[in-house]
C-alpha cells in the first residue's frame, strides 16, 4: 500500500457527483407540501414606509400569506442582530435604508404565484434625502440614516492599531514620503449559486430544520436560537452542497428569518431562493474601502514607517462577518512582507444608503484590501525613487532569520523565506529579459507593463484568546469514527463550498491512520451530526479543522496503540508507529495495521479497554498562519482602444505543507480569475438616488474562459511551525495577491505617460481616457 498520502494530487472525491450534475444543492431540496416565498423589496434607497396593501397579492390564485414588518414586530422579530453586533431590519417597519431592502414576503403554493403576488403588493413610500457618498456621511447636512440607534450619527466605529507617535517620530526626518489615495471598489463574490433556504418547522415534533446555504451551519443554529428564542436542541441546520460561497454565505440574511417565520405561520416547509438581482443588490457586498497610504523611506529605498487611514462604507447596517474584536478584520496585516520600523492604521466606518455586507469575496477578513494597499503603495514609492519595484521590495523583505517576525501592527508571522520565493518567481518569468523587452518597446512607443505583488496573507482565525464571533470562540473541530473493517467516517465543524474538503481532509486523516483517502468518508454541514465549529471562510479550514483532523487522528492512534500492543502481545511502550503500521521496536517484521486494530477494537479488546475506535478533537490554534506569494503580471495595452491584454501571469505561492497540489492549483486558478475580474471589470456603483447600477450580469461582469488569462503556477514550501502538519491555508491567497499585480502592471505600462495610479476596475474606457488625458490620439 502507498502510505504517502499527503502531497499527492489525488483526484477530488466530490467531483464525480458535481461533474455529473448529481450534487444536492439547496434548490434540489423538495419537501412534501412545500410552499415558496418571494420577497418584496424597496425601490427607494431611503424613504419613510407608509401603508402596505396586501389585498391584491392575496387575491392571486395560490398566494397563501403576505408577511410584513409589522407582522414580525408583533413577534419581536422585525429586527435581528448582525454578526458584527449591529441590528438589522428583517422586514422594514418604519423606513427603508437601501434599495432592494426587504419590505414584505409573499408565501404561495408555487414560486410563480409567489412572484406574481410580490409584484402586486402595494407599498406607500415617502422618499427621503439619500446618502451615497461616504465622505459626506459626517457633514452637518447629511441625513441621519439610523434613527434607531442611540448615537445620532452616521459614524459607526473608529478602530486603530499600531503606534501613531512612533510613526510621526520616524517620519519626521524621513528623506522621502509618498502619499497615495486609492479606492478598492464595492464588488461582489456572486457565486454561481445564490443564497437560499428551506425552513421546515414540524408541527408534529416542534423541531425546526433549516436547510440553508451556509458556510457556518453551527453558528447559524446558535444565532437562530438566540434570535428566534427557540431551544437550540430543537433546531437542526443542514447546509447541503454549496455552489460557491466565497464569504457571501457567512451572514445570516433576513430572508432566512422570514422563511422560518413563514414556516411557523403556515405550518408548511417554505423555500426561498434569491434571484441574481437580489443576491447582487442586497446580499453581502465586498470591499468598499477608501484608503490613503503614506510611506516614509530613505532615498536609498529602505522603508521606515507606514501610515494608513481608511474610510469604510458599510452601507445601511454593519453586517460584515468579522471576528468581534476586529471590526476592520485583519486589515492591520497591511505592512505586508516588509520590515517597517513603525506603522499605524486607522479605520472609520460609516453608514450609507447602500446594501449591507462588507466581508466576502475571498477577502480573508479585509486582507485583500490590506495587500492591495501596501503592494500598490510600494510601486508608488518605487516610481518616486525611480527604482525598479523588485529592487525596492528586495531591500525591504523580512529576512528568514527574523521569523517568528513581530510586525509593528501586532502580528507574529510564523515562517517565511521571502527572498527565495521572489527569486524563484523572477527566474520563472524571466524578469530581466522582460524589462529589456519593455525598454525596447518603450523606445518604439509601445505600452508594455510588468507588475509585481509580494503579498503576505494572514489566515486560520483563530486563537480563542483573540478570536470570536459574537462570543463564539473560533476554534474548529474534527470527529473520527473508525469502523470495524477499517473504514472511516470523519466529520468536521467547517463547511466546504467547492474547496475540496472531502479530499484534503480525507488525505490528512488517512495519513495519520495509515489508510488511503478512499478509506475515509468526509461529512460536513449537518449540525445534528458534525462536531461544533465556526465554519469555512478566511482560509481557515486547513489551519483549524485540518489541524483538528491530524490531532484527532493521533488521538485515535493513541488508543489504537493499546490495541496493537494487545494484538502483538507486547507492552505498549514497546510499540511504535512506523511506515503506517504499528510495529515492535527493533522488530519491524512483527506489525499490525490500522485495519487489524480497527477490527480488534470491536472484536478482540484487551481487558479493561473501552470498546470502539473513535475520537473528537477541538483545535484552538496557538497562532494564525501566514501564507505568502509572489505574483507577476505582464500586460500589453492597445493605445487605440485602451484594451489590456494580460500576456502572462505567474503565481508562486507558499502555503506551507501542500496536502493536495492539484486542489491547491485549482484554488489558485479560481482565485486568480476572481482577482482578474476585480482588477478589470467588477464594481457595484450607485447613482445619486442610491439606485444599484450593477444588479445583474449585464452590468456586473463575470469572466469566462474566453477573457481569462492563462495562469502559470509554481510553489515554494515553508511549513508553518505551529500547525500539526505544517499547512497554512491557500484559498484566498490568489484573490488577496493578484489585484495589485494587475494594477501595478497597467500603471507600469502607462508610467511613461505620467500615470502614477488608477483605481480599479481598469475598464477599457477608463484606460482609454487616461491615454487621451496623456495626449495619445491614435
Amino acid at each position: 500500500m502507498d502510505t504517502q498520502v499527503i502531497g499527492k494530487p489525488i483526484k477530488r472525491k466530490e467531483d464525480p457527483r458535481f461533474l455529473q450534475g448529481r450534487g444536492n444543492y439547496i434548490d434540489d431540496i423538495k419537501l412534501p407540501n412545500m410552499a415558496y416565498m418571494a420577497i418584496v423589496r424597496s425601490p427607494y434607497a431611503h424613504a419613510r414606509l407608509g401603508a402596505i396593501h396586501k389585498e391584491a397579492a392575496l387575491a392571486v390564485p395560490g398566494v397563501i400569506a403576505v408577511i410584513t414588518g409589522q407582522d414580525l414586530a408583533a413577534a419581536g422579530l422585525a429586527w435581528m442582530p448582525t454578526l458584527a453586533g449591529d441590528n438589522q431590519m428583517v422586514l422594514a417597519t418604519s423606513k427603508v435604508l437601501f434599495q432592494y431592502q426587504e419590505v414584505a414576503a409573499v408565501i404561495a403554493e408555487t414560486r410563480e404565484a409567489a412572484y406574481d403576488g410580490a409584484a402586486l403588493v402595494e407599498v406607500d413610500y415617502d422618499p427621503l434625502p439619500v446618502l451615497v457618498d461616504p465622505h459626506q456621511a459626517q457633514v452637518a447636512t447629511a441625513p441621519l440614516l439610523r434613527e434607531d440607534r442611540e448615537t445620532k450619527s452616521n459614524h459607526i466605529w473608529h478602530w486603530e492599531a499600531g503606534d501613531a507617535g512612533a510613526v510621526q517620530r520616524v517620519a519626521s526626518d524621513a528623506e522621502v514620503i509618498i502619499k497615495q489615495q486609492m479606492y478598492f471598489p464595492r464588488c461582489h463574490a456572486s457565486p454561481l449559486e445564490t443564497c437560499g433556504c428551506v425552513a421546515d418547522m414540524s408541527k408534529a415534533t416542534g423541531r425546526l430544520t433549516l436547510y440553508v446555504t451556509s458556510q457556518a451551519p453551527h453558528a447559524y443554529r446558535t444565532v437562530l436560537a438566540l434570535v428566534a428564542k427557540l431551544p437550540e436542541h430543537m433546531i437542526r441546520v443542514v447546509s447541503p452542497d454549496i455552489g460557491g460561497g466565497f464569504g457571501a454565505k457567512v451572514g445570516v440574511y433576513p430572508g432566512y428569518v422570514v422563511a422560518v417565520v413563514a414556516s411557523i405561520v403556515t405550518g408548511r416547509p417554505v423555500k426561498w431562493i434569491e434571484t441574481r438581482t437580489e443576491h447582487l443588490a442586497s446580499t453581502a457586498f465586498a470591499r468598499d474601502y477608501h484608503m490613503t497610504a503614506e510611506i516614509a523611506a530613505t532615498r536609498e529605498g529602505k522603508v521606515k514607517a507606514l501610515k494608513v487611514h481608511t474610510l469604510a462604507d458599510h452601507g445601511a447596517f454593519d453586517a460584515q462577518a468579522n471576528p468581534s474584536k476586529f471590526p476592520a478584520g485583519l486589515f492591520s496585516i497591511c505592512t505586508g512582507s516588509y520590515d517597517f520600523e513603525a506603522a499605524h492604521v486607522a479605520v472609520d466606518a460609516v453608514y450609507t444608503n447602500k446594501a449591507p455586507g462588507g466581508v466576502s469575496y475571498r477577502c480573508s477578513f479585509r486582507v485583500t484590501e490590506a495587500s492591495y494597499l501596501i503592494e500598490r503603495a510600494m510601486d508608488v514609492l518605487a516610481a518616486e525613487l525611480q527604482m525598479d519595484p523588485v529592487d525596492l521590495r528586495k531591500k525591504n523583505l523580512i529576512q528568514p532569520d527574523q521569523f517568528p517576525y513581530a510586525s509593528p501592527l501586532g502580528w507574529t508571522y510564523d515562517s517565511g523565506n521571502y527572498q527565495h520565493t521572489l527569486d524563484k518567481a523572477l527566474a520563472l518569468i524571466g524578469y530581466a529579459d522582460l524589462r529589456k523587452e519593455q525598454a525596447e518597446k518603450r523606445a518604439r512607443g509601445e505600452l508594455m507593463g510588468i507588475g509585481v505583488s509580494f503579498f503576505t496573507e494572514i489566515v486560520g482565525a483563530g486563537p480563542s484568546k483573540q478570536f470570536d464571533i459574537l462570543g463564539l470562540k473560533m476554534f474548529d473541530s474534527a470527529e473520527i469514527r473508525v469502523h470495524p473493517t477499517g473504514k472511516v467516517l470523519a466529520r468536521f465543524g467547517t463547511r466546504g463550498q467547492g474547496q475540496g474538503h472531502e479530499t484534503t481532509y480525507a488525505q490528512i486523516v488517512a495519513h495519520e491512520l495509515g489508510l488511503t483517502a478512499d478509506d475515509v468518508l468526509v461529512e460536513e454541514g449537518d449540525t445534528d451530526t458534525a462536531p461544533y465549529g465556526l465554519g469555512t471562510y478566511g482560509s481557515r479550514s486547513t489551519p483549524t479543522s485540518g489541524a483538528a483532523a491530524a490531532l484527532c487522528g493521533r488521538r485515535v492512534r493513541d488508543k489504537a496503540a493499546k490495541i496493537a500492543a494487545h494484538l502483538l502481545e507486547a507492552a505498549e511502550h514497546d510499540i511504535e508507529w512506523q511506515d503506517a503500521k504499528f510495529q515492535i521496536k527493533g522488530a519491524p517484521e512483527r506489525s499490525v495495521t490500522m485495519k487489524d486494530v480497527a477490527f480488534a477494537a470491536y472484536t478482540n479488546l484487551p481487558p479493561g479497554l473501552e470498546p470502539g475506535l473513535e475520537a473528537t478533537f477541538y483545535y484552538d490554534p496557538p497562532n494564525l498562519t501566514f501564507p505568502y506569494g509572489c505574483y507577476i503580471a505582464v500586460v500589453d495595452i492597445d493605445k487605440g482602444t485602451g484594451e489590456v491584454k494580460v500576456r502572462r501571469f505567474l503565481a508562486v505561492d507558499d502555503c506551507g505543507t501542500v496536502i493536495n497540489p492539484m486542489v491547491v492549483e485549482g484554488q489558485i486558478h479560481g482565485g486568480l480569475t476572481e482577482g482578474f475580474a476585480i482588477a478589470f471589470m467588477q464594481e457595484i456603483p450607485y447613482d445619486e438616488n442610491g439606485n444599484c447600477l450593477a444588479s445583474n450580469f449585464t452590468e456586473y461582469l463575470v469572466p469566462t474562459a474566453v477573457e481569462s488569462p492563462r495562469w502559470e503556477t509554481a510553489s515554494t514550501v515553508t511549513p508553518s511551525p505551529h500547525h500539526p502538519i505544517g499547512a497554512k491555508g491557500v484559498g484566498e491567497s490568489p484573490n488577496v495577491g493578484s489585484p495589485a499585480a494587475f494594477v501595478n502592471a497597467v500603471v507600469d505600462a502607462l508610467s511613461p505617460l505620467g500615470v502614477r495610479h488608477l483605481d480599479m476596475p481598469l475598464t477599457r474606457p477608463k484606460i482609454w481616457k487616461a491615454l487621451r488625458n496623456a495626449g495619445i490620439t491614435e
Binding site: N689, N691, C692
Partner: protein
C-alpha cells in the same frame, strides 16, 4: 437616476384655451401616454394607471399627479408614481405664452427621478425612454387642443 427634460409645443389654439386645458386634471390626465384608467380625485388632482417601462421591465404603474395653478402663467405639475417595484417622481413647470401669429407656446421643463430596477437595469435606456414619454405627454396635449379647436 435624476434627469432634466424640457421642450416647447407650439399649439394652434388661444392662450386662454391652453391655460384652461393644462390646469384641468381631467383633460391633462387623458393625455398621459399609455393611459389605462383615470380618476380625478379633486379640483387639481388625479390618479392614473398607465402601462409603461423599458424592454422586459414593463407593467402597470400607478401615478398620482397634482396641478398647481396658483402661480399665474406658471403651472406646476408634481407627479409621483410606482409600479413593478419602481418609484418615480417628476416635478414639472409649464408656461403659456401667446405668439403674434395667434398660436400659443407651451414651454415645459421637468425634473424626473427614478428609483428601482428600472433605473438599475434600464439605466442606459432610461433617459431616452423618459424623454420620449414626457415629450409624448405634451404632444398629446397639443393634439387634443388642436382637435378641439
Amino acid at each position: 437616476m435624476k434627469m432634466q427634460l424640457s421642450g416647447v409645443e407650439t399649439i394652434h389654439a388661444a392662450k386662454a384655451d391652453v391655460y384652461a386645458f393644462v390646469t384641468d386634471p381631467n383633460r391633462v390626465g387623458r393625455c398621459l401616454p399609455d393611459l389605462q384608467e383615470l380618476e380625478v380625485t379633486g379640483g387639481s388632482q388625479l390618479v392614473a394607471h398607465v402601462r409603461m417601462g423599458i424592454g422586459p421591465i414593463r407593467g402597470r404603474f400607478k401615478l398620482a399627479a397634482e396641478l398647481d395653478a396658483s402661480r399665474g402663467e406658471q403651472i406646476g405639475m408634481t407627479l409621483k408614481g410606482s409600479g413593478m417595484g419602481n418609484g418615480l417622481t417628476m416635478t414639472s413647470t409649464m408656461r403659456v405664452e401667446a405668439a403674434a401669429d395667434g398660436t400659443t407656446a407651451l414651454h415645459w421643463s421637468a425634473d424626473a427621478s427614478v428609483s428601482g430596477p428600472l433605473a438599475g437595469v434600464g439605466g442606459r435606456l432610461l433617459e431616452g425612454q423618459a424623454k420620449k414619454t414626457t415629450t409624448e405627454l405634451f404632444a398629446n396635449i397639443r393634439q387634443a387642443l388642436e382637435a378641439a379647436s
